[in-house]
Protein backbone atom coordinates (compact mmCIF):
# COMPACT_ATOMS: atom_id res chain seq x y z
CA UNK A 1 0.00 0.00 0.00
CA UNK A 2 1.31 3.44 -0.88
CA UNK A 3 2.15 5.45 2.24
CA UNK A 4 -0.01 8.55 2.67
CA UNK A 5 0.08 11.64 4.83
CA UNK A 6 -0.89 10.60 8.34
CA UNK A 7 -3.43 13.27 9.30
CA UNK A 8 -3.78 11.84 12.80
CA UNK A 9 -0.09 12.20 13.50
CA UNK A 10 0.83 14.30 16.47
CA UNK A 11 4.34 15.38 17.39
CA UNK A 12 6.08 13.77 20.38
CA UNK A 13 4.75 15.56 23.45
CA UNK A 14 7.22 14.05 25.89
CA UNK A 15 10.60 12.44 26.04
CA UNK A 16 8.99 9.02 26.24
CA UNK A 17 7.28 9.61 22.89
CA UNK A 18 10.53 10.46 21.12
CA UNK A 19 11.76 7.95 18.61
CA UNK A 20 14.82 5.91 19.54
CA UNK A 21 17.87 7.03 17.59
CA UNK A 22 17.00 7.89 14.04
CA UNK A 23 14.38 5.23 13.44
CA UNK A 24 10.60 5.25 13.08
CA UNK A 25 7.86 3.06 11.66
CA UNK A 26 8.22 2.56 7.93
CA UNK A 27 6.06 4.74 5.67
CA UNK A 28 5.17 7.23 8.37
CA UNK A 29 4.55 10.50 6.52
CA UNK A 30 4.05 13.38 8.88
CA UNK A 31 4.16 16.47 6.70
CA UNK A 32 3.04 17.64 3.26
CA UNK A 33 6.04 18.01 0.96
CA UNK A 34 4.87 19.75 -2.18
CA UNK A 35 4.50 23.45 -1.48
CA UNK A 36 6.52 24.79 -4.40
CA UNK A 37 4.58 23.31 -7.36
CA UNK A 38 3.82 25.69 -10.27
CA UNK A 39 1.96 23.21 -12.45
CA UNK A 40 0.07 20.15 -11.28
CA UNK A 41 -0.51 17.01 -13.35
CA UNK A 42 -4.14 16.15 -14.05
CA UNK A 43 -4.99 12.71 -15.38
CA UNK A 44 -7.76 12.40 -17.97
CA UNK A 45 -9.26 9.05 -17.04
CA UNK A 46 -11.03 8.83 -20.44
CA UNK A 47 -7.65 8.78 -22.23
CA UNK A 48 -5.76 6.75 -19.61
CA UNK A 49 -5.21 3.08 -20.54
CA UNK A 50 -3.67 2.17 -17.18
CA UNK A 51 -0.29 1.32 -18.69
CA UNK A 52 1.37 2.52 -15.41
CA UNK A 53 4.27 4.23 -17.20
CA UNK A 54 3.59 7.36 -15.12
CA UNK A 55 3.50 5.23 -11.96
CA UNK A 56 6.90 3.76 -12.86
CA UNK A 57 8.45 7.09 -13.86
CA UNK A 58 7.27 9.32 -11.01
CA UNK A 59 10.44 10.07 -9.00
CA UNK A 60 8.47 10.65 -5.82
CA UNK A 61 6.02 7.74 -5.97
CA UNK A 62 3.18 10.25 -6.03
CA UNK A 63 1.00 8.37 -8.52
CA UNK A 64 -1.70 6.38 -6.77
CA UNK A 65 -2.85 3.16 -8.46
CA UNK A 66 -4.96 1.70 -5.71
CA UNK A 67 -8.33 2.91 -6.90
CA UNK A 68 -10.06 2.00 -10.17
CA UNK A 69 -8.46 4.99 -11.80
CA UNK A 70 -4.94 6.36 -11.44
CA UNK A 71 -4.70 9.52 -9.38
CA UNK A 72 -2.03 11.92 -8.15
CA UNK A 73 -1.10 12.35 -4.48
CA UNK A 74 -0.83 16.16 -4.41
CA UNK A 75 0.58 16.07 -0.88
CA UNK A 76 3.85 14.83 -2.38
CA UNK A 77 3.73 15.67 -6.13
CA UNK A 78 6.40 18.30 -6.84
CA UNK A 79 4.98 19.19 -10.26
CA UNK A 80 8.04 18.07 -12.22
CA UNK A 81 5.91 17.00 -15.20
CA UNK A 82 7.76 13.76 -15.96
CA UNK A 83 4.49 11.81 -15.89
CA UNK A 84 2.93 14.12 -18.46
CA UNK A 85 6.04 13.93 -20.62
CA UNK A 86 6.20 10.13 -20.50
CA UNK A 87 2.49 9.35 -20.93
CA UNK A 88 2.17 7.66 -24.38
CA UNK A 89 -1.53 8.65 -24.64
CA UNK A 90 -1.10 12.32 -23.66
CA UNK A 91 -3.60 11.58 -20.89
CA UNK A 92 -1.82 13.84 -18.37
CA UNK A 93 -1.86 17.60 -18.71
CA UNK A 94 0.02 20.12 -16.60
CA UNK A 95 -2.37 22.72 -15.21
CA UNK A 96 -1.17 25.99 -13.67
CA UNK A 97 -1.67 26.00 -9.90
CA UNK A 98 -4.37 28.38 -8.77
CA UNK A 99 -6.47 27.81 -11.89
Amino acid sequence: MKPRLNKDYRLPASEEEMTFGTACATGLLTAVNSGWRTFRPVIDSMKCVHCLICWVCCPDGAIDREGRELSVDYDYCKGCGICAHECPRQAISMVKEGK
Partner: protein
Protein backbone atom coordinates in the same frame (compact mmCIF):
# COMPACT_ATOMS: atom_id res chain seq x y z
CA UNK B 1 9.62 14.49 13.54
CA UNK B 2 8.17 11.03 13.17
CA UNK B 3 7.57 8.52 15.88
CA UNK B 4 5.32 5.53 15.90
CA UNK B 5 4.17 5.53 19.49
CA UNK B 6 5.68 2.14 20.25
CA UNK B 7 9.04 0.48 20.57
CA UNK B 8 10.35 3.76 21.87
CA UNK B 9 12.98 2.21 24.05
CA UNK B 10 14.61 0.70 21.01
CA UNK B 11 15.60 -2.24 23.13
CA UNK B 12 13.08 -4.94 23.65
CA UNK B 13 11.65 -7.95 21.82
CA UNK B 14 14.12 -10.52 20.73
CA UNK B 15 16.83 -9.49 18.36
CA UNK B 16 16.69 -12.89 16.76
CA UNK B 17 20.09 -12.42 15.14
CA UNK B 18 18.27 -11.85 11.84
CA UNK B 19 21.63 -11.61 10.20
CA UNK B 20 22.32 -12.56 6.65
CA UNK B 21 25.86 -13.48 7.65
CA UNK B 22 24.60 -16.06 10.10
CA UNK B 23 22.70 -17.95 7.47
CA UNK B 24 25.78 -17.86 5.26
CA UNK B 25 27.86 -19.40 8.00
CA UNK B 26 25.37 -21.81 9.51
CA UNK B 27 26.49 -25.37 9.66
CA UNK B 28 30.12 -24.52 9.10
CA UNK B 29 30.96 -23.11 12.48
CA UNK B 30 33.00 -25.13 14.88
CA UNK B 31 32.04 -24.15 18.39
CA UNK B 32 34.83 -23.33 20.73
CA UNK B 33 32.58 -23.14 23.76
CA UNK B 34 34.67 -25.49 25.86
CA UNK B 35 37.84 -23.44 25.46
CA UNK B 36 39.48 -22.67 28.80
CA UNK B 37 41.24 -19.54 29.97
CA UNK B 38 44.94 -19.70 29.17
CA UNK B 39 48.01 -17.51 28.75
CA UNK B 40 49.71 -16.66 25.47
CA UNK B 41 52.60 -14.44 24.43
CA UNK B 42 50.87 -11.94 22.14
CA UNK B 43 51.27 -8.53 20.56
CA UNK B 44 48.69 -5.90 21.43
CA UNK B 45 47.01 -6.41 18.05
CA UNK B 46 46.90 -10.17 18.53
CA UNK B 47 45.49 -9.72 22.01
CA UNK B 48 42.83 -7.38 20.61
CA UNK B 49 42.00 -9.96 17.92
CA UNK B 50 41.52 -12.60 20.65
CA UNK B 51 39.19 -10.18 22.44
CA UNK B 52 37.16 -9.66 19.28
CA UNK B 53 37.01 -13.42 18.60
CA UNK B 54 35.63 -14.05 22.09
CA UNK B 55 32.85 -11.49 21.46
CA UNK B 56 31.75 -13.41 18.35
CA UNK B 57 30.92 -10.52 15.98
CA UNK B 58 28.75 -11.76 13.11
CA UNK B 59 30.16 -9.34 10.54
CA UNK B 60 33.63 -7.82 10.26
CA UNK B 61 34.55 -5.34 7.52
CA UNK B 62 38.02 -3.86 7.48
CA UNK B 63 40.63 -2.18 5.37
CA UNK B 64 44.24 -2.75 6.42
CA UNK B 65 46.40 0.16 7.58
CA UNK B 66 49.60 0.25 9.61
CA UNK B 67 49.68 -0.25 12.59
CA UNK B 68 46.26 -1.92 12.68
CA UNK B 69 47.03 -4.47 9.92
CA UNK B 70 48.08 -7.45 12.03
CA UNK B 71 44.86 -7.16 14.03
CA UNK B 72 42.55 -7.58 11.05
CA UNK B 73 44.89 -10.16 9.49
CA UNK B 74 44.56 -12.28 12.60
CA UNK B 75 40.79 -11.85 12.52
CA UNK B 76 40.64 -12.92 8.88
CA UNK B 77 42.58 -16.06 9.87
CA UNK B 78 40.10 -16.77 12.66
CA UNK B 79 37.21 -16.42 10.21
CA UNK B 80 39.00 -18.62 7.65
CA UNK B 81 39.52 -21.23 10.38
CA UNK B 82 35.85 -20.84 11.35
CA UNK B 83 36.76 -20.06 14.91
CA UNK B 84 33.37 -18.36 15.14
CA UNK B 85 30.49 -17.84 12.65
CA UNK B 86 31.26 -14.59 10.90
CA UNK B 87 31.15 -12.92 7.50
CA UNK B 88 34.43 -11.11 6.79
CA UNK B 89 34.19 -8.37 4.18
CA UNK B 90 37.32 -6.99 2.56
CA UNK B 91 36.27 -3.49 1.50
CA UNK B 92 37.96 -0.82 -0.60
CA UNK B 93 38.23 1.88 2.05
CA UNK B 94 37.66 2.75 5.68
CA UNK B 95 34.58 4.78 4.75
CA UNK B 96 33.17 1.62 3.19
CA UNK B 97 34.27 -0.49 6.16
CA UNK B 98 32.18 1.58 8.53
CA UNK B 99 29.31 1.78 6.04
CA UNK B 100 29.34 -2.01 5.67
CA UNK B 101 29.31 -2.75 9.38
CA UNK B 102 26.62 -0.10 9.87
CA UNK B 103 24.49 -1.95 7.31
CA UNK B 104 25.04 -5.19 9.17
CA UNK B 105 24.25 -3.48 12.48
CA UNK B 106 20.98 -2.33 10.93
CA UNK B 107 20.15 -6.04 10.61
CA UNK B 108 20.75 -6.49 14.32
CA UNK B 109 24.19 -8.07 13.99
CA UNK B 110 27.10 -7.63 16.34
CA UNK B 111 29.86 -6.16 14.18
CA UNK B 112 33.49 -5.08 14.35
CA UNK B 113 35.96 -2.98 12.41
CA UNK B 114 39.40 -1.52 13.07
CA UNK B 115 41.46 1.27 11.59
CA UNK B 116 44.12 3.88 12.31
CA UNK B 117 45.11 7.47 11.62
CA UNK B 118 44.20 8.50 8.05
CA UNK B 119 41.80 5.56 7.94
CA UNK B 120 39.94 6.89 10.96
CA UNK B 121 39.81 10.34 9.39
CA UNK B 122 38.48 8.85 6.17
CA UNK B 123 35.87 7.00 8.26
CA UNK B 124 34.92 10.24 9.99
CA UNK B 125 31.73 10.87 8.03
CA UNK B 126 30.37 7.43 8.87
CA UNK B 127 31.22 7.75 12.58
CA UNK B 128 28.46 10.29 13.15
CA UNK B 129 26.00 8.26 11.07
CA UNK B 130 26.57 5.31 13.37
CA UNK B 131 26.45 7.27 16.63
CA UNK B 132 23.35 9.30 15.72
CA UNK B 133 21.57 6.11 14.70
CA UNK B 134 22.67 4.52 18.00
CA UNK B 135 24.20 1.32 16.65
CA UNK B 136 26.40 -0.39 19.26
CA UNK B 137 29.40 -0.89 16.98
CA UNK B 138 32.86 -1.49 18.44
CA UNK B 139 35.87 -0.07 16.60
CA UNK B 140 39.54 -0.49 17.45
CA UNK B 141 41.73 2.42 16.50
CA UNK B 142 45.48 1.83 16.51
CA UNK B 143 46.60 5.33 17.50
CA UNK B 144 48.94 6.83 14.93
CA UNK B 145 50.11 10.28 13.85
CA UNK B 146 48.08 12.05 11.18
CA UNK B 147 49.61 13.20 7.90
CA UNK B 148 51.36 15.34 7.00
CA UNK B 149 54.28 15.04 7.78
CA UNK B 150 53.70 11.42 6.86
CA UNK B 151 54.42 9.16 9.80
CA UNK B 152 53.21 5.66 10.62
CA UNK B 153 54.15 5.80 14.32
CA UNK B 154 52.07 6.41 17.37
CA UNK B 155 50.37 9.44 18.81
CA UNK B 156 46.78 10.26 19.67
CA UNK B 157 45.98 13.11 17.32
CA UNK B 158 43.81 10.80 15.19
CA UNK B 159 41.27 9.74 17.81
CA UNK B 160 41.36 13.04 19.69
CA UNK B 161 40.28 14.71 16.43
CA UNK B 162 37.23 12.39 16.53
CA UNK B 163 36.33 13.41 20.08
CA UNK B 164 32.94 14.84 19.07
CA UNK B 165 31.93 12.05 16.72
CA UNK B 166 29.44 10.77 19.30
CA UNK B 167 31.50 7.68 20.09
CA UNK B 168 32.53 6.53 23.53
CA UNK B 169 36.35 6.54 23.61
CA UNK B 170 38.56 4.20 25.63
CA UNK B 171 42.36 4.40 25.82
CA UNK B 172 44.25 1.36 27.12
CA UNK B 173 47.56 0.67 28.80
CA UNK B 174 48.47 -2.86 27.75
CA UNK B 175 47.72 -5.74 25.41
CA UNK B 176 45.79 -7.40 28.21
CA UNK B 177 43.73 -4.26 28.71
CA UNK B 178 43.02 -4.11 24.94
CA UNK B 179 41.57 -7.61 25.03
CA UNK B 180 39.58 -6.98 28.20
CA UNK B 181 38.36 -3.55 27.11
CA UNK B 182 36.99 -4.90 23.83
CA UNK B 183 34.85 -7.35 25.80
CA UNK B 184 33.75 -4.55 28.12
CA UNK B 185 33.15 -2.26 25.13
CA UNK B 186 30.52 -4.52 23.59
CA UNK B 187 28.72 -4.81 26.89
CA UNK B 188 28.72 -1.03 27.39
CA UNK B 189 27.75 -0.28 23.77
CA UNK B 190 24.90 -2.79 23.78
CA UNK B 191 23.47 -1.75 27.15
CA UNK B 192 19.85 -0.63 26.51
CA UNK B 193 20.36 2.79 28.11
CA UNK B 194 23.60 3.41 26.24
CA UNK B 195 23.24 1.91 22.77
CA UNK B 196 26.16 3.98 21.56
CA UNK B 197 29.25 2.94 19.56
CA UNK B 198 32.59 2.52 21.29
CA UNK B 199 36.10 3.24 20.01
CA UNK B 200 38.89 1.35 21.77
CA UNK B 201 42.20 3.15 21.23
CA UNK B 202 45.41 1.15 21.31
CA UNK B 203 48.71 3.03 20.97
CA UNK B 204 50.34 2.21 17.64
CA UNK B 205 53.49 0.07 17.89
CA UNK B 206 53.95 0.80 21.62
CA UNK B 207 51.06 -1.63 22.15
CA UNK B 208 49.99 -2.99 18.78
CA UNK B 209 53.40 -4.49 17.96
CA UNK B 210 54.78 -5.12 21.45
CA UNK B 211 54.56 -8.61 22.91
CA UNK B 212 53.47 -9.48 26.40
CA UNK B 213 51.99 -12.39 28.26
CA UNK B 214 48.22 -12.13 27.88
CA UNK B 215 45.51 -14.09 29.63
CA UNK B 216 42.79 -15.18 27.23
CA UNK B 217 39.49 -15.83 29.01
CA UNK B 218 37.45 -18.94 28.24
CA UNK B 219 34.68 -18.65 25.68
CA UNK B 220 31.97 -19.81 28.08
CA UNK B 221 32.91 -17.15 30.61
CA UNK B 222 32.81 -14.44 27.93
CA UNK B 223 29.50 -15.75 26.58
CA UNK B 224 28.05 -15.52 30.08
CA UNK B 225 29.38 -11.98 30.48
CA UNK B 226 28.29 -10.87 27.01
CA UNK B 227 25.01 -12.40 25.86
CA UNK B 228 24.00 -12.14 22.18
CA UNK B 229 22.93 -8.68 21.02
CA UNK B 230 19.21 -7.98 21.33
CA UNK B 231 17.85 -4.80 19.80
CA UNK B 232 14.68 -3.46 18.26
CA UNK B 233 16.72 -0.80 16.47
CA UNK B 234 17.00 -2.93 13.35
CA UNK B 235 15.30 -3.86 10.12
CA UNK B 236 12.79 -6.69 10.29
CA UNK B 237 9.84 -7.87 8.23
CA UNK B 238 7.67 -8.20 11.35
CA UNK B 239 8.27 -4.62 12.45
CA UNK B 240 9.17 -2.56 9.36
CA UNK B 241 11.07 0.59 10.25
CA UNK B 242 12.71 3.49 8.48
CA UNK B 243 16.26 3.86 9.78
CA UNK B 244 18.53 6.90 9.69
CA UNK B 245 15.65 9.30 9.07
CA UNK B 246 16.03 13.05 8.97
CA UNK B 247 15.06 15.12 12.01
CA UNK B 248 14.63 18.79 11.24
CA UNK B 249 15.00 21.91 13.38
CA UNK B 250 11.80 21.17 15.29
CA UNK B 251 13.14 18.06 17.06
CA UNK B 252 16.88 18.07 16.41
CA UNK B 253 17.79 19.49 19.81
CA UNK B 254 15.68 16.81 21.48
CA UNK B 255 17.44 14.14 19.47
CA UNK B 256 20.89 15.37 20.53
CA UNK B 257 19.66 15.63 24.12
CA UNK B 258 18.95 11.89 23.92
CA UNK B 259 22.51 11.19 22.79
CA UNK B 260 23.89 13.23 25.68
CA UNK B 261 21.67 11.26 28.09
CA UNK B 262 23.06 8.04 26.65
CA UNK B 263 26.58 9.24 27.48
CA UNK B 264 25.47 10.17 30.99
CA UNK B 265 24.03 6.67 31.38
CA UNK B 266 27.28 5.27 30.00
CA UNK B 267 29.21 6.70 32.97
CA UNK B 268 27.39 4.36 35.36
CA UNK B 269 27.37 1.46 32.91
CA UNK B 270 31.13 1.69 32.31
CA UNK B 271 31.78 1.57 36.06
CA UNK B 272 29.33 -1.28 36.60
CA UNK B 273 30.68 -3.25 33.65
CA UNK B 274 34.21 -2.93 35.00
CA UNK B 275 33.11 -4.18 38.41
CA UNK B 276 31.25 -7.13 36.89
CA UNK B 277 34.27 -7.86 34.73
CA UNK B 278 36.57 -7.82 37.75
CA UNK B 279 34.32 -10.25 39.60
CA UNK B 280 34.23 -12.64 36.66
CA UNK B 281 37.76 -12.37 35.28
CA UNK B 282 39.78 -10.98 38.19
CA UNK B 283 41.08 -7.88 36.39
CA UNK B 284 39.95 -4.36 37.21
CA UNK B 285 40.50 -1.10 35.33
CA UNK B 286 38.49 1.34 37.46
CA UNK B 287 35.91 2.36 34.84
CA UNK B 288 36.50 5.76 33.25
CA UNK B 289 39.71 6.61 35.12
CA UNK B 290 42.11 5.13 37.62
CA UNK B 291 43.78 7.01 40.48
CA UNK B 292 47.15 5.40 41.15
CA UNK B 293 48.81 6.21 44.50
CA UNK B 294 47.02 9.58 44.58
CA UNK B 295 45.75 9.47 48.21
CA UNK B 296 48.38 11.75 49.72
CA UNK B 297 50.06 12.83 46.47
CA UNK B 298 51.20 16.45 46.11
CA UNK B 299 52.08 16.06 42.43
CA UNK B 300 49.81 14.12 40.11
CA UNK B 301 50.31 13.36 36.42
CA UNK B 302 47.26 12.60 34.25
CA UNK B 303 47.83 10.49 31.14
CA UNK B 304 45.97 8.47 28.50
CA UNK B 305 47.07 5.19 26.90
CA UNK B 306 50.17 3.03 27.04
CA UNK B 307 52.39 5.63 28.71
CA UNK B 308 50.45 4.94 31.92
CA UNK B 309 52.55 1.77 32.28
CA UNK B 310 55.77 3.77 32.28
CA UNK B 311 54.36 6.45 34.60
CA UNK B 312 53.35 3.71 37.05
CA UNK B 313 56.94 2.50 37.36
CA UNK B 314 58.25 6.05 37.77
CA UNK B 315 55.66 6.78 40.48
CA UNK B 316 56.70 3.59 42.30
CA UNK B 317 60.38 4.56 42.14
CA UNK B 318 59.78 8.15 43.29
CA UNK B 319 57.60 6.83 46.12
CA UNK B 320 60.54 4.75 47.39
CA UNK B 321 62.48 8.03 47.49
CA UNK B 322 59.71 9.48 49.66
CA UNK B 323 58.25 11.74 46.96
CA UNK B 324 54.50 12.11 47.20
CA UNK B 325 53.51 11.54 43.57
CA UNK B 326 50.60 9.82 41.84
CA UNK B 327 48.99 9.21 38.49
CA UNK B 328 45.53 9.62 37.02
CA UNK B 329 45.08 7.23 34.12
CA UNK B 330 42.26 8.55 31.98
CA UNK B 331 40.63 5.56 30.33
CA UNK B 332 37.68 7.39 28.77
CA UNK B 333 37.96 10.69 26.94
CA UNK B 334 34.20 10.47 26.31
CA UNK B 335 32.33 10.26 28.54
CA UNK B 336 34.90 12.34 30.43
CA UNK B 337 35.59 11.47 34.11
CA UNK B 338 34.70 15.00 35.16
CA UNK B 339 33.83 14.10 38.77
CA UNK B 340 37.26 12.56 39.37
CA UNK B 341 39.03 15.75 38.29
CA UNK B 342 36.50 17.98 40.05
CA UNK B 343 37.23 16.12 43.30
CA UNK B 344 40.96 16.78 42.99
CA UNK B 345 41.96 18.75 46.09
CA UNK B 346 44.61 19.17 48.80
CA UNK B 347 47.08 17.69 49.49
CA UNK B 348 47.42 17.81 45.68
CA UNK B 349 49.28 21.02 44.84
CA UNK B 350 50.25 20.49 41.22
CA UNK B 351 48.61 18.51 38.45
CA UNK B 352 50.37 17.81 35.18
CA UNK B 353 48.69 16.51 32.05
CA UNK B 354 50.70 14.53 29.53
CA UNK B 355 49.23 14.84 26.04
CA UNK B 356 50.29 12.71 23.07
CA UNK B 357 48.46 15.25 20.94
CA UNK B 358 48.28 18.99 20.53
CA UNK B 359 45.43 21.23 19.47
CA UNK B 360 47.25 23.93 17.54
CA UNK B 361 46.45 27.39 18.76
CA UNK B 362 45.66 26.18 22.25
CA UNK B 363 47.20 23.21 24.11
CA UNK B 364 46.92 19.45 24.60
CA UNK B 365 43.33 18.20 24.44
CA UNK B 366 43.34 16.29 27.72
CA UNK B 367 44.78 19.34 29.50
CA UNK B 368 41.84 21.48 28.36
CA UNK B 369 39.38 18.85 29.54
CA UNK B 370 41.06 18.27 32.89
CA UNK B 371 41.39 21.96 33.71
CA UNK B 372 37.78 22.67 32.78
CA UNK B 373 36.62 19.84 35.04
CA UNK B 374 38.81 21.05 37.93
CA UNK B 375 37.81 24.69 37.67
CA UNK B 376 36.18 26.31 40.65
CA UNK B 377 36.65 29.79 42.05
CA UNK B 378 39.70 30.02 44.27
CA UNK B 379 41.05 26.62 43.31
CA UNK B 380 44.61 26.28 44.52
CA UNK B 381 45.92 23.41 42.39
CA UNK B 382 48.40 24.64 39.79
CA UNK B 383 48.64 22.90 36.44
CA UNK B 384 51.11 22.14 33.65
CA UNK B 385 50.67 20.65 30.22
CA UNK B 386 53.36 18.40 28.78
CA UNK B 387 53.31 17.67 25.07
CA UNK B 388 55.31 14.51 24.35
CA UNK B 389 55.42 11.32 22.34
CA UNK B 390 54.25 12.79 19.05
CA UNK B 391 54.77 10.73 15.89
CA UNK B 392 56.17 7.77 17.82
CA UNK B 393 58.81 9.61 19.87
CA UNK B 394 59.47 7.49 22.96
CA UNK B 395 58.48 8.87 26.34
CA UNK B 396 61.19 7.62 28.67
CA UNK B 397 61.19 7.18 32.41
CA UNK B 398 63.60 10.09 32.70
CA UNK B 399 61.16 12.25 30.69
CA UNK B 400 58.45 11.40 33.19
CA UNK B 401 60.76 11.97 36.16
CA UNK B 402 61.50 15.40 34.66
CA UNK B 403 57.76 16.13 34.49
CA UNK B 404 57.41 15.27 38.18
CA UNK B 405 60.40 17.51 38.96
CA UNK B 406 58.73 20.40 37.16
CA UNK B 407 55.49 19.71 39.02
CA UNK B 408 57.36 19.67 42.34
CA UNK B 409 58.91 23.04 41.51
CA UNK B 410 55.48 24.39 40.59
CA UNK B 411 54.02 23.01 43.83
CA UNK B 412 56.84 24.74 45.67
CA UNK B 413 55.79 28.08 44.24
CA UNK B 414 58.26 28.47 41.34
CA UNK B 415 57.19 29.71 37.95
CA UNK B 416 56.93 27.13 35.19
CA UNK B 417 55.89 27.68 31.60
CA UNK B 418 52.34 26.29 31.37
CA UNK B 419 52.72 24.53 28.02
CA UNK B 420 55.89 22.47 27.75
CA UNK B 421 57.31 20.29 25.00
CA UNK B 422 59.20 17.37 26.50
CA UNK B 423 62.26 16.39 24.50
CA UNK B 424 62.13 19.34 22.09
CA UNK B 425 65.55 19.42 20.42
CA UNK B 426 65.89 23.13 20.93
CA UNK B 427 64.16 25.28 23.50
Amino acid sequence: MPHDGKNQSGVQEQGGGGCAALSVCQGKAERTGSERAHNQFLSGNEAAAEGVRLCRPQVIAAYPITPQTTLVERLSEFVAERAFPCKYLLVESEHSAMAAVMGAAMMGSRVFTATSSQGLLYMCEMLSYVSGSRYPIVLVNANRATATPWNIFGDQRDSVAMRDSGWIQFYVESGQESLDTIIQAYRVAEHPEVSTPVMVNIDGFTLTHTYDLVNIPGQEAVDAFLPPLKTANRLSLENPRSLSINIGPDYHLESRYQEQKAFQAAEKVIAQTDEDFARKFGRKYYGMAERYRCEDAECVLAVMGSVAGTVRTVVDRLRTEGKRVGMIKVRCLRPFPRALFAAQEAPCKALGVLDRNISFGYEGALYTEARAAMYRPGASIRTLNFIAGLGGRDISRSDIALMFEKLARLAGGSFEEELQYIGLRWS
